[in-house]
Assembly symmetry: C3
Homo-oligomer: 160 residues x 3
């Protein structure tokens, strides 16, 4: 049954608000069309999945530095263009609210409700010292092999 | 007839000269191979489609600010690397002319002549306050659903 | 025989260490799954293929400037985020070594051993004034037409 569904995969490499919003809009659109959708979060894209609050976990020195320097969750993400030291994201959030567009946290929630599979890249988590406790709930954990398995079956594969 | 053609889609999310050139070179190449090609312009990519001149349209305050801050058309785009405050784009344009490569406006014209479908993302137009009068002629207007419909039929789908 | 293999293509447009690493990890993973893999290096992505040492070749003035301003090989690449004037790449290389992940030069070597086809975009080489003597050995040279030929047969096509 599930086998005959169209599939869509997105690698979310970038950790910027605008790119994350684009990824989730495409993912939710595809899920609404009954595609089986996977978003594979790697490198800076993992920051989209971080919880807002600071989570106490044991880490080495470099891993702690990465953890501190990288944005913690959707509220802290910058823009890929016109960031203006944080003014840009505020403006974008403001116009999205004004136009009653879903915010990024709402897009993530909708994706999870629609069954979009959110996968955190375990290799990058190791490198950046991110641990499962620091990420949102209901996230899958896998490596590039799992991504390739999904992508080889999918018609739409994007790298964002 | 048209149904049996190969299809190629490109999401142009980025509003930089070098990425726009890459998108149009791939699109024109695919069209030359008789693919049905769609470029879906969203977020900063919409700036590639803006007319050079200032168009008077009624807008809210934030939309006016976005309109002023974002580059108006191909002449104003920066580079994703080595922009050097505008020197980089000048250098690139210079070497392209020297090597008799088509400029971005010429690549856009060629794409339209070859039947490449240029689609402006209506949702982002709403958010950024861009109106049809401000964009080039012969542009299609649609949302993410239309893009997904094209992409699900295409073999080559890129996000740039 | 080779005809029935799954195919994967990656356009590497970006010349940053983190994106190059991501491209090669995906490429090597796909090759390990017995996909026929092509990476097409264009624009800034060509810098990944440059030899470390300075190669003396005849060039025009602008081409010499591009040659000097662009990073020469994997050691000189910056990061797309958190570059911090070169500290970021050092940190990333450090944690990769600590976690016994392959470095970018090792990933490139592995790709070549696995038969991943590395193709330098001849059109961009002309524009940026890069010559074959300046790039790594065992590189293929082709234009966008060759890329499109590969991509139209591939299931996974990414633009990085």
């Amino acid at each position: 049954m599930g086998e005959s569904k169209e599939k869509t995969t997105i690698v979310l490499f970038s950790g910027e608000l605008d790119k994350a919003i684009a990824a989730f809009i495409i993912a939710n659109g595809a899920a609404a069309y009954d595609h089986e959708v996977t978003i594979f979060f790697t490198f800076w894209g993992l920051n989209v999945l971080r919880k807002d609050e600071s989570i106490v976990v044991k880490k080495g020195f470099l891993e702690k530095m990465f953890g501190k320097m990288m944005p913690r969750g959707t509220e802290k993400l910058g823009l890929s263009k016109m960031n203006f030291g944080g003014m840009g994201p505020k403006m974008i959030k403001h116009v999205m609210k004004k136009h009653q567009a879903l915010s990024l946290p709402q897009l993530i929630e909708l994706a999870q409700e629609q069954g979009v599979k959110l996968v955190a890249c375990t290799m990058t988590m190791d490198l950046l010292g991110l641990q499962q406790e620091e990420l949102l709930d209901r996230i899958h954990y896998a490596g590039v092999a799992a991504y390739l398995g999904d992508a080889a079956d999918a018609k739409v594969n994007l790298f964002i």
